[in-house]
């Protein structure tokens, strides 16, 4: 069963045509007592993967694969890590990407699949000049 109407699937598929290289969505969850939101996240990711052949979903067991969780700095589930090929893009989604966050996820997938940040030249220059140590950005949102 699809989460999106046929019309919406068309729009998203069209949008995803910008994808240039394979993107893997690592979904950290657990087998037993997984939160309902983890199941929702899986459905959303599967829907996305159905709409473009270059998108793949891989479920990672947060309990059994602690080394991988540590490698990607994952401390809560559900969590989604975006990989471009094998490379960690350092883009994460914590929680089920429903509602408005579904659009953010699509944008993130496209960013991951290209080497273009889509930022303005001014922003790129600022980042290049001023980022010299690890910087962690957490954006808190709610689904609406």
């Amino acid at each position: 069963v699809s989460l999106l109407s046929e019309q919406d699937q068309r729009v998203v598929r069209e949008h995803l045509s910008a994808i240039q290289q394979p993107v893997t969505l690592l979904l950290f969850t657990q087998t037993f007592d997984a939160p309902e939101t983890a199941r929702m996240a899986r459905e959303v990711l599967d829907e996305l993967a159905r709409l473009n052949d270059l998108i793949r979903v891989e479920e990672v067991n947060f309990i059994l694969e602690q080394e991988r969780a540590a490698k990607y700095g994952i401390e809560n589930i559900p969590a989604i890590v975006l990989l471009a090929g094998e490379e960690d893009t350092r883009m994460r989604f914590l929680g089920a990407p429903t509602g408005y966050e579904f659009m953010s996820l699509i944008e993130a997938v496209i960013l991951a699949s290209t080497n273009d940040s889509r930022l303005t030249p001014e922003s790129r220059a600022l980042i290049s000049a001023h980022v010299s140590s690890p910087t962690d950005i957490q954006v808190f949102v709610t689904p609406t």
Binding site: P35, T37, G73, N76, T89, R90, M91, R92, F93, L94, G95, A96, P97, E101, S104, A108, L111, A112, N115, D116, S117, R118, L119, T120, E122, S123, R124, A125, L126, I127, S128, A129, H130, V131, S132, S133, P134, T135, D136, I137, Q138, V139, F140, V141, T142, P143
Partner: protein, 66 residues
């Protein structure tokens, strides 16, 4: 921004699902951005202003930028 620098990690956190994180960072409205666990940015800002805020730079360009 994470796409632009290998030093940057960017997470989108669903606030209502992670109440402990939301409480820790006193999230009472969204979007709210937390940089390195401390700096707070409220609301959705225009791109360059957001970049400046994340980097801890003044809102208006100064000669020190370049």
């Amino acid at each position: 921004m994470a796409r632009e620098s290998a030093l940057i990690r960017a997470s989108c956190v669903e606030a209502t699902e992670f109440m402990d994180l939301s409480r820790r960072f006193r999230v009472t409205g969204v979007p709210k951005t937390i940089v390195n666990g401390s700096t707070e940015i409220l609301g959705a800002l225009p791109e360059e202003l957001f970049v400046r805020s994340v980097l801890g730079l003044p809102e208006v360009p100064t000669p020190a930028d370049s």
